[in-house]
Amino acid sequence: MSEIATMTPSLWTWMSNPGHFMRWSGKAVPWLTALSLAALAVGLYQTFFVVPADYQQGETVRIMYIHVPAAWLGVFFYGAMSLSAIGTLVWRHPLADVAQRAAAPIGAAFTLVCLVTGSLWGKPMWGTYWVWDARLTSMLVLFLIYCGLIALWRTIEDPNRAARAVAILTLVGAVNLPIIKFSVNWWSTLHQPASILRMGGSTIDPSMLYPLLLMIGAATLGGSTLHLYTMRTEIMRRRVRTLTIREAERLDSGARRIVPAPAAAPLPQAL
């Protein structure tokens, strides 16, 4: 009995089996998409029709409801990629590399949104689109790391070699995550210090904080759903690759059987 108990795979192991993953994610994605869209609709309604204007920033504070979720997801997806990189290097789990590869473009897109919306918020509030302060620069570095990882995948043809190289580079780039988080504490920056996750609680008024948390939740749900969807596509791409290689091998061996070997040509005579 105890042997059977130890042989039963954990829920995590079961879910991360590629075959099981395709089954449960196929059922979950439509529901998660509907839930994400509903949460986003409520969040946007609150952003534009319920949330008051800020007493200092006026209406421009509404940019915060896309800027902060985008910044969170840029960092969140890189954190997820770092965990996947460990899964690739330590356990060589096939789904770990799939998860990492699917996350990179999504994380890059959210980081770009964070940079551009921050810039559009900065111009009316700070008087400039860009300053080379620690928070802005470290987010730009995150975006460049994402671009570098995507480029590296495309450079190396062998998927196993690419997975290992990308996993190592991802873990090296993870050093940037604490720098992003604590940059506003370690250095004097134009960017404001942490106002949600900080010792002593949030400094944002509840009338703005709860809609912001809703938008963060909606964006996280939507981003994660898209990640599941693109992971499924990545698994399909690898299946196509495997089938293409098998087909090429089959055709190659068939050609060898059908085409008779050429008559032995006379060996060149040694001079």
Binding site: G58, E59, P105, V113, V240, L243
Partner: protein, 48 residues
Amino acid sequence: MFDLGSHGGFIVAAYAFTALIMCGLVGNALRDRAAQRRALKRFGEDRR
């Protein structure tokens, strides 16, 4: 429509850019899925 104040252009630009990138991201994911599904069909496999 409500008044977004004197900096309304920045707010609209920020939301428009976000919408553009998100549409691109989702559109690319859908296009890629359709391409992989077509390729699988050529091998006689059909996945959703």
